[in-house]
């Protein structure tokens, strides 16, 4: 390792640079999002007018370009987008005329609540099944647990959701998502019912990798010397299981949960659409079908910020649960 490399590693490990690198990444993300959605220019006009775009006169098109803010050069468009993103309104949704910031303010809590419920259900299921499997490796129980993990990985969220909707609505005539969405603070009971199935679908997706990680982490820790010592000195087995084995297997589990959170946000796009929850995923898909690039751009940016925040939180949590990780 060269001296330069070593200094940069030391610098990168300090919190200041950690934050600095987060901002560089965010900057990169904003440029990336911006460019990806600019591959074909003028599409907001096609989006708004459809086939009628063909009959517009050049003057009308020029006017529309000014209206949609796509008459300026790319760097200027980027700067004006960033300005409106950072100073608050994030631009306007053309089909509804509402500012994207206020749309997001309504949609984001729904997605965050859904993601939290999904993660909690997923972690609980994953750790439970993983422990259940690891208790007796190679047994029928282990096989059943691993089969659960595999199926949870392989059955896509939209299949699971469609199946749940079909069975619940038609066989049990219970389908809370058929009613208009209510917020947690308006009617918590109804809200939780509406969040239950989508949360469960996302939770199962999270449970699969968490289960696998739990199982292998537990199996690894069981063989460690300190576990043998604990058993040898007569600590009761329940305590060994929780205080010694599970506690020491937590780090890979937390890491995996953090990673899964990102995928879960992606799953939210699909699940929110099936269960008609007015969250960010629905906002993005609606904007995409309407070709409202400003909305897509800002919403995707919000997703990325959310994802990075989760990573930072994950980082903080494992510093907490593993005192060995210190600066």
């Amino acid at each position: 390792m060269s001296v330069g490399e070593r200094t940069s590693r030391i610098l990168l490990s300090t919190p200041v640079l950690r934050i600095g690198s987060i901002f560089t990444t965010l900057f990169g993300i904003s440029i990336f999002v911006f460019l990806v959605l600019r591959v074909i220019p003028g599409d907001s006009i096609v989006g708004a007018f459809g086939i009628e775009t063909g009959v517009l006169t050049p003057e009308q098109i020029a006017q529309l370009k000014i209206y949609y803010g796509i008459d300026k050069s790319l760097p200027m468009q980027y700067i004006s987008w960033m300005q409106s993103f950072l100073t608050g309104n994030m631009g306007y949704s053309y089909s509804t005329g509402i500012s994207i910031a206020s749309l997001t303010a309504k949609a984001l809590p729904v997605t965050i609540e859904l993601a939290l419920i999904g993660t909690i259900l997923g972690v609980v299921m994953g750790i439970a099944v993983g422990t259940f499997s690891a208790r007796k490796p190679g047994s029928i129980r282990d096989f059943a647990g691993q089969l659960f993990g595999l199926m949870a990985l392989a059955v896509p969220g939209f299949v699971l959701s469609t199946t749940i909707v079909t069975i619940m609505a038609n066989k049990f005539h219970y389908f809370p998502n058929g009613y208009e969405f209510v917020r947690l603070w308006e009617d918590p009971w109804m809200n939780l019912q509406q969040m239950l199935f989508p949360g469960l679908v996302l939770g199962i997706a999270v449970a699969a990798p968490v289960m696998r990680t739990t199982r292998s982490a537990l199996l690894e820790t069981v063989d460690k010397d300190f576990v043998r010592t604990a058993i040898g000195k007569g600590v009761n087995s329940r305590k060994v299981q929780t205080r010694h084995i599970l506690r020491n297997s937590l780090i890979p589990i937390v890491t995996m949960t953090g990673i899964q959170f990102g995928y879960l946000l992606g799953g939210a796009v699909i699940v929110e659409n099936i269960f008609s929850l007015p969250g960010m995923g629905r906002q993005v898909l609606y904007a995409i079908t309407k070709r409202e690039y400003a909305t897509v751009q800002s919403s995707v940016m919000v997703f990325a910020i959310l994802f990075i925040t989760i990573n930072v939180i994950t980082d903080l949590i494992y510093r907490k649960i593993d005192p060995r990780i210190k600066q």
């Binding site: 595999l150 896509p156 469609t162 199946t163 038609n170 879960l264 699909i270 993005v284 995707v300």
Partner: protein, 285 residues
């Protein structure tokens, strides 16, 4: 040439030791055969042919998987959909693996600013949920099969960069690589002969896993209406079309879903099998 008893056993020998690997390979083989049938058009019915008089029929000897609300044969459509999913996923993963591995090896080997740049770029792409990024890209590119696979390729390239770069960082500091450099071997030769063989194992495993994710992403996009367009058959689209009729025609939902699940299970098991076969530490014998 006489085989010495000390000659190491081939990868296939170790692969066949793992039950999950064998099961996975069989499932995958089944799906590949099914897709080949669809490529050559060896289907009992035309997947696009509508026949309203046979609409919503259950599985029978004529229509093995039943028919949908337009009387189209779900068996033929599932086969054709599987072909489409595999085409998109295989091309997406091929692009992602080629570009990702090249960039990953180069960035690990060259280091310095190039490495920094590549790592930053992959961090940027990593900051999006896969399906969301694919959605955004498809929405601008369009949704023919090659555009969908391009979008999926962009999403999965950074994973290959990461998988290839890691081992390169370790291997390039090993004594035998340092020696070759002192001996004056060209970088190209060092990369090809000494570094590439050391990164193939994790990459092969990654290919199997990425294929399974690519299939899930592709079917997710089609489900949302941004992948394959009707009337063409795609597994995700078929699930989406089955939504309103699933209560009376379970087969319309069940068979395409089962196809997706089987191929994803197969790929994951193959991935597990490959990991066991290629990792010397996990070999039991």
């Amino acid at each position: 040439m006489k085989r010495s008893p000390l000659k190491p056993k081939g990868g296939l020998y170790y692969y066949m030791q793992s039950t999950s690997g064998i099961v996975g390979a069989l499932l995958l083989l089944f799906m590949v055969i099914v897709s080949i049938c669809a490529v050559f058009g060896w289907l009992p019915h035309d997947p696009l042919e509508q026949n309203v008089e046979f609409a919503m029929q259950g599985p029978s000897t004529t229509f093995w998987f039943g028919t949908d609300e337009f009387g189209r044969d779900i068996f033929s459509r599932s086969l054709d959909g599987m072909r489409r999913s595999l085409t998109v996923s295989v091309s997406a993963v091929s692009i992602a693996a080629t570009i990702g591995v090249t960039l990953g090896i180069l960035s690990g080997y060259l280091g310095r600013w190039f490495d920094q740049l590549i790592v930053r770029l992959s961090d940027v792409i990593f900051a999006f949920p896969a399906i969301l990024l694919a959605l955004a890209i498809v929405s601008t590119l369009g949704n023919s099969w090659y555009q969908t696979s391009l979008a999926i390729a962009v999403v999965y390239t950074p994973i290959f960069i990461r998988v290839a770069r890691g081992p390169v960082l370790t291997v390039k500091e090993m004594d035998y690589v340092k020696v070759t450099r002192i001996l004056g071997f060209s970088s190209l030769r060092i990369l090809r002969k000494h570094i590439l063989p050391n990164v193939t194992a994790p990459i092969v495993v990654q290919v199997a896993l990425s294929l399974s994710w690519a299939i899930l992403t592709e079917s997710g996009l089609s489900f949302l209406g941004l992948g394959t367009q009707p009337p063409n058959a795609s597994l995700g689209l078929m699930v989406s079309e089955a939504q309103p009729i699933a209560a009376f025609a379970w087969w319309a939902l069940f068979f395409p879903s089962a196809f997706i699940t089987i191929v994803v299970v197969g790929l994951n098991l193959v991935g597990d099998g490959l990991r066991d076969a290629l990792d010397p530490a996990r070999r039991s014998s």
